[in-house]
């Protein structure tokens, strides 16, 4: 089974694009835009709108039909495979399987000053109607806030005997988050501490596949809340304990 994008007829391949070219806005710019889109394997290219951004830049809105098709059955997804539990199920799970509270320590690291995301996961109030970890029975949640150095985070994690480290990264420009996240894993490994913690990352542009790639246990993006994170963590902790 191969599929294409859908406009109004199955597999008609219709897509919309928009972009700017460093060219004046005129017929030549439009033709260049068209040729570029054709290079992407798109035919029936319609430049439906062209407008000058200044004398040497122009913006195009384009509709076309993509040649490309894809067999969705060949696409595999790096997804978190543990079940998602509710808050009370998680609390019960902890009560059943652990004889002590689980400690989560979290921060927004590097120069990142965004705390709303990590607060959404960790603080009492939570976000969008989902309570944060602080409110979970059996969980101790320590939120170090923002702009926390990797070294400080690790020190605090050791000091508090944390089970789970949570890192939030929101600024991703020029891949500043990749650099920062990579150096935390390197730090953990250099200190021989990688196996002491479950390490989870999150943020608007983070997903599970990226987290695995960088050597983390899991990654959570938009529309993920405390219960998602806690479900994953308690399952993995139990697994570690049982192993």
């Amino acid at each position: 089974m191969k599929i294409r994008p859908y406009g109004d007829t199955l597999n008609d391949g219709k897509i919309q694009l928009s972009f700017t070219l460093p060219l004046p806005c005129n017929a030549h710019g439009e033709e260049t835009a068209k040729a570029l889109v054709q290079k992407m394997g798109i035919h029936d290219v319609q430049i439906v709108h062209a407008s000058p951004l200044n004398a040497t830049f122009s913006f195009y809105i384009v509709y076309g039909t993509t040649h490309h098709q894809i067999d969705p059955t060949t696409i595999t997804v790096t997804e978190i495979d543990s079940d998602t539990l509710t808050k009370s199920e998680i609390e019960a799970f902890i009560a059943t399987h652990f004889d002590r509270p689980i400690t989560f320590i979290g921060a927004s690291t590097g120069t990142d000053a965004h705390t709303v995301g990590i607060d959404a996961i960790m603080n009492m109030k939570g976000y969008a109607g989902h309570y944060g970890l602080e409110r979970y029975k059996g969980i101790q949640a320590i939120n170090l806030g923002s702009q926390v150095e990797n070294e400080t985070l690790l020190e605090e994690a050791i000091k508090h005997n944390a089970d789970v480290i949570l890192i939030s990264q929101t600024v991703t420009q020029k891949d500043v988050h990749i650099q920062n996240l990579t150096s935390f894993i390197e730090l953990l490994e250099a200190e021989g501490k990688r196996d002491d913690f479950i390490v989870i990352i999150g943020g608007a542009r983070i997903n599970h596949a990226l987290a695995k790639e960088l050597g983390y246990d899991a990654g959570f993006g938009p529309k993920k809340y405390a219960y998602h994170v806690a479900s994953f963590a308690v399952h993995l902790l139990k697994q570690k304990k049982d192993a």
């Binding site: 406009g7 109004d8 709108h49 809105i61």
Partner: protein, 521 residues
């Protein structure tokens, strides 16, 4: 009242519009058309097409025109033929098609026994009535919205894709689905048959397509407890026939406007006025909301300068509907948000116009059309034009809220275009929920003055139309600047002056039932 309008002036406009419509009614009452006659045949349960795909109802009228005289009416021929042959209407049609029967001999017979036709007609009207009651019951069971009903179109050309698109729209929150017809269908002097999958810019209006879509939407209603209304287009050469099949298949709304057909489709005015009267009687009885097409004037003429033509036309359309015994709650009079966005204070003028329509027709479920003419390939700007339109729709409490598509200038809507339109309208309806109760307009401000100006201009125009007559008005091109001649245009050859003995038993029963308020089976 929000706009400080002069109620006496409004009453004067209504009175003038009534005279205008009544004059046309006198003409209508003396005439019939091929399409009216075919509609009678449909109410006699004649269905299907011959091997050459000609509908049997056309087979009969073509035959009568060729061999006899249609001005006597099909009821004349059919009642005599039934009496004579003992065949059912459908069998008669097939026999004619196979040249086994000719109606010519009945031309000169008198005193046809119409009572032979009534049982089938009653049965068909009961079927229509049953559909009406299903609609009313389902609507009553489902919660009513306080914000405008969201209306979107589907137009893939393929009824099965249309269904897919319609269901997606319903999932996203649409309340009303209109299946656009293939381009040019309104000029066909027959109604195509069966399920269809090939259309340009729309899908054939056929009874089977109506049925398929109705079923799909009813299934949605069952699973989601939300009644989805279905719309199609009656205007055109087959106006009353499509109204009839819509009534039988429980469509909920019908685009139904002669003026649209005359002006934008070059359909002969005599033909379509006659057709419109019968089609509106049918819709009035079926509880189908009609939609009129005044909005289209502004796609051709400048919307700021010609706003009053819309209002004048609404007044006239209201009287046409009243003459067809239609209740106000079924009169979806059209208007539109079409002022050039480059005009300063465009939002204020649009708001004035929308409030004006609502104030003048408070009980009519106004059909409010989105920006189309000034939509461009700039889909981002288009989305904002639609947002402003949505604000006016909510603020002025429009009823039927046709959603604008960000790709209006590009193609008939993709599934995603429609979804974005619904998201847009839903967001605005929520954000502006009580806005209209919060604000009042400055006396003598731009908005009030504009509303009063438009009303004033409409009155002047109605006066002119009353004086010269609507036929002349159309010849002079006062609507949309397009001139049409009384004896030109498509379908004129399908107009017949009724013979003295002419009878339309369907119309008779419709009027009786409507007057008795008799909706019992």
């Amino acid at each position: 009242m929000k706009l400080n309008l002069n109620q006496t002036q409004i009453n004067r406009c209504r009175a003038r519009a009534k005279t205008i419509a009544d004059t046309i009614q006198t003409f209508i009452d003396q005439s019939t058309t091929v399409s009216v006659e075919r509609t009678i045949l449909r109410f006699l349960s004649i269905d299907g097409v011959n091997p050459l795909d000609v509908p049997y109802v056309n087979v009969i009228t073509d035959h009568i025109i060729a061999e006899a005289d249609l001005s006597l009416g099909v009821a004349h021929y059919l009642s005599l033929a039934i009496e004579d042959t003992g065949l059912t209407p459908q069998e008669i049609a097939q026999a004619i098609d196979q040249k086994q029967l000719s109606l010519k001999p009945y031309q000169t017979k008198t005193h046809p026994n119409h009572s032979l036709l009534y049982p089938t007609i009653e049965e068909q009207l009961n079927r229509v009535n049953k559909q009406r009651r299903i609609r009313e019951k389902t609507l009553a069971e489902n919660p009513k919205k306080s914000t405008p009903e969201l209306y979107v179109i589907v137009a893939t050309g393929n009824i099965y894709e249309d269904i897919e698109q319609a269901l997606s729209a319903a999932h996203k929150g649409a309340d009303i689905i209109a299946v656009i017809r293939t381009t040019g269908q309104s000029l066909l002097d027959f109604v195509p048959y069966g399920p269809t999958t090939e259309g340009f810019g729309g899908t054939m209006a056929t009874q089977e397509n109506f049925k398929l879509m109705r079923q799909a939407l009813d299934d949605f209603t069952t699973s989601h407890q939300r009644y989805i209304k279905l719309v199609n287009y009656a205007s055109g050469l087959c106006m009353p026939e499509i109204a009839a099949i819509g009534a039988l298949e429980r469509l909920d709304m019908m685009l139904n406007d002669s003026l649209y057909g005359i002006i934008f489709r070059d359909i002969n005015m005599q033909r379509t006025f006659i057709d419109q009267y019968f089609s509106r009687l049918i819709s009035a009885y079926a509880g189908i909301t009609i939609n009129t097409g005044e909005d289209n004037y502004l796609t051709t003429s400048d919307a700021y300068e010609h706003a009053h033509t819309v209002l004048a036309s609404q007044f006239i359309n209201e009287q046409f509907a009243k003459n067809a015994l239609m209740e106000e709650r079924f009169m979806g009079l059209g208007h539109a948000y079409e002022i050039d966005p480059n005009l300063e204070n465009s939002f204020l003028y649009e708001l004035a116009q929308a409030e004006l329509s609502k104030a003048i027709f408070p009980n009519a479920p106004l059909k409010y059309m989105p920006p189309t003419k000034h939509m461009t390939g700039d889909i981002f700007k288009g989305l904002i034009q639609n947002a402003l339109f949505n604000i006016v729709a909510v603020t002025s409490h429009q009823s039927i809220h046709l959603l604008g598509m960000l790709t209006e200038a590009i193609h008939t809507p993709f599934m995603s275009d429609r979804a974005l339109a619904i998201d847009n309208a839903t967001y605005i309806a929520k954000a502006f929920k009580d806005f209209s109760h919060e604000i009042s307009y400055r006396p003598d401000g731009i908005i009030m003055n504009r509303a009063n100006d438009v009303l004033h201009q409409a009155e002047t125009l109605l006066k002119t139309i009353q004086e010269e007559g609507l036929f002349t008005t159309l010849e002079k091109g006062r609507f949309a600047g397009i001139s049409r001649k009384l004896n030109a245009g498509k379908g004129l050859d399908g107009v017949f002056k009724k013979a003295p003995s002419y009878e339309n038993p369907v119309m008779t029963r419709l009027i009786e039932r409507l007057k008795e308020g008799n909706h019992e089976d």
